[in-house]
């Protein structure tokens, strides 16, 4: 179970990298900021139909690629480096909950269409501060109704299928809500990170259908995949910051020398490199564990997330600082990473939550 990339993974990384450079450079994120669109539908179509990215972790029997967590991590790293706006993470998390369920009807109904990019699905997962939802079974039919509010939800306004965790009389359950259901109000929020589409979901007696299976286990699995995916995106983006800032320190001259000659600059970049290397090693371990050593996946993914989320957020601030004034302008790309870093650090469980969870797993 080597940490280094296989030839196949290397090829995947290169094809996604090329795709990002050709089809979704940072200029296209700026177009989205102007247009207000959450993502580029053509780009998403190619990501799914051509590259099969939404199906990487979906088994082949349900129309996916069945490639696993390492492939997902490799692809997400490249997408993160380019700050590609897409509903991929939302779809991957929704798919994970479906795959982990024992609900074959739901799997057959949704997984092939998620893998093919025809359906955008999301998982309404947020911290306790983000609100909660209660399920009521009035006994009138097979379904239940949901009431409550939750935010921020990934691609909450873009999804046609929402998987919503809710409190029931028997503990937590996961419920499938149609995007057009009665009593569902979805409000797109102002996202700090321009590359994320985030919404508040309000449910008021909204009809829903229960997803069969162990909800607690499915949500835990989704949290682990979320940690891996966000750690991967952060690793890619952090490397982009490191490369961008090193390049600037090589060519920008002040006091008669390239600024990288000064230790105040050089040492900060060296620390960034060190944090990236350590985080990347932890990321590769988590990516492999998901495929080959599932019993270790949760802790490994938490470790990668804890290290990379913090390191990337710091690196993005340093990217602004080391570029000086130009790095703080709207025209420069540094702020796009800075905001992505802020957001990646806290989405679906911030550092404190992650460390608490890790402490529980480690028997502290």
């Amino acid at each position: 179970m080597a940490l280094i990339l296989t030839d196949e993974e290397q090829a995947l990384a290169e094809s996604v990298r090329k795709f990002v450079a050709d089809r979704s450079p940072l200029t296209s994120l700026r177009h989205l900021i102007s247009s207000g669109e959450p993502y580029d539908a053509d780009v998403w179509k190619q990501m799914t139909a051509q590259l099969g990215l939404a199906g990487l972790t979906i088994p082949e029997e349900y129309g996916g690629v069945g490639a696993g967590t390492s492939a997902l991590s490799v692809a997400e790293t490249e997408l993160g480096a380019g700050l590609v706006a897409s509903p991929l993470l939302a779809c991957v998390l929704a798919a994970e909950v479906l795959v982990r369920s024992s609900d074959d009807a739901a799997k057959v109904e949704f997984l092939p269409r998620i893998a093919g990019g025809e359906v955008i699905a999301t998982l309404a997962l947020a911290s306790r501060a983000g609100g909660h939802v209660t399920a009521t079974d009035d006994g009138a039919g097979p379904g239940v109704t949901l009431t409550g509010s939750i935010s921020p939800v990934l691609n909450g306004t873009d999804a046609s299928v929402l998987l919503v965790p809710a409190d029931t009389a028997d503990g937590i359950g996961i419920f499938i809500v149609d995007g057009s259901a009665a009593g569902l109000t979805r409000t797109r929020l102002t996202a700090v990170d321009h590359s994320r589409s985030l919404a508040r979901i309000q449910l008021s007696g909204t009809p829903a259908r229960a997803l069969a299976g162990d909800a607690v286990a499915a949500l835990a699995a989704a949290s682990d995949v979320a940690n891996l995916a966000l750690a991967s995106e952060s690793a890619g983006a952090m490397k982009a910051c490191l490369d961008m800032t090193s390049e600037y320190a090589r060519i920008r001259v002040a006091f008669g020398q390239p600024i990288g000659a000064f230790q105040a600059v050089k040492h900060r970049l060296a620390d960034m490199e060190k944090s990236w290397e350590l985080g990347y090693a932890a990321l590769r371990d988590a990516a492999r564990a998901g495929d080959a050593d599932p019993g270790r996946f949760s802790v490994a993914a938490s470790v990668a997330r804890v290290l990379l989320a913090g390191a990337y957020a710091d690196a993005a601030v340093d990217t602004v600082q080391l570029h000086g004034g130009i790095g703080f302008t709207w025209e420069h790309d540094a702020h796009l990473y800075y905001k992505n870093g802020l957001s990646n650090k806290v989405l679906l469980g911030g550092p404190g939550d992650q460390l608490d969870r890790l402490a529980d797993s480690l028997g502290i």
Partner: protein, 400 residues
Amino acid sequence: MNDDFRARARAWLAANAPRRDSGGDDGESGQATLADQKAFQAKLYDAGFAGITWPKEYGGQGLTGIEQIAWSQESRDYDLPNGAFFIGISMPGNTLVELGTEEQKKRYLPKMLRGEEIWCQLFSEPGAGSDVASLQTSAVRDGDSWVLNGQKVWTSGAQFSDFGAILARTDPTKPKHSGISMFIVNMHAPGVTVRPLKVATGHSPFNEVFFDNVRIPADALVGEENKGWDAAVVMLRHERIAIGMMGSSRTSPLGFESLRDLAAGLGRTSDQGVRRDLAELYARGRAMQLFATLLREETQAGRLPGARGSVAKLAGSELGRFAGSVAADVLGDQLAAFDSDEMYAVTTSIIAAPGSAIAGGTSEIQRNIIGERVLGLAKDPGVDRATPFNQLRVGTQRQN
């Protein structure tokens, strides 16, 4: 094949090596006597676990980095009583494998692996630490030999070493990097004096060594005359990799498991800050191990780590300091005074922690190396690089 080796290593370790228990992590070698250490190294050699990647003709096993990784992983929880050989094999030994003459390799390497001869490394001087190329120890040619004069410092293991790899100035009229040579010096030769140096922990993990007209033969030169800096760079690379990959064992006093158990014993694990600190310590320690594994895998795949060994060295030092601060948080006021061996071991390790950011190249120097050789940033201005050494100001003295 790797699995065979791993299984063999596991079985041998279980049968022959003591498991770790908690002891001070301050760089002192363990309790084993020198005779015990030599006997253990010989046993290790006979079992085929010494010099795993070295060529067979010099006593090695002729295996690959894969087996080396397997060995490191399997031996991590054992307290191998052969610490006296660590420096010699990983630094001068690896350097001789790369740069030594055929005679030097045949003469020295097998005896090193078999536990017959112990080596030390003699680079730093009172006036040349981070700027080690400013060293003032001189070697002057006299017929068929060289005559060595000067002082070295921070020399681990000098008190029991048979040989040392020493850097000395052989041409003071050249710029500082261009007039240095590397030699093999017999530590038992007349004129060599070794004195222990006491450090902040109260222990003496290393020495200062004086050379007073010490005569060494011409064939003791490693590499070419006045090309000693190149040889030093090779050895420093091996040093950083070795230090970076030492990692910390699961049971060292500042390791995650030890501090978790200590916190539980003191009733501190209900404190959210302590819990989070311990979880972060686990994460950072784990990343260090994984990075070392990644570097070995890349080496095995033909991508040499080069200056990224400095990343491991820097990260290891920072992890040590972080572990020290976590330990201090866990102990609270119990750090200030104690009367148990367990607390002595922990506080000694806390006091020793800053040392790792100095020994083997300071963290500041590692950052320079990472910046310049990994990230390709401009070099430090180096105002002294082109000046003949005998016109430079060095250390805290004026050199004329």
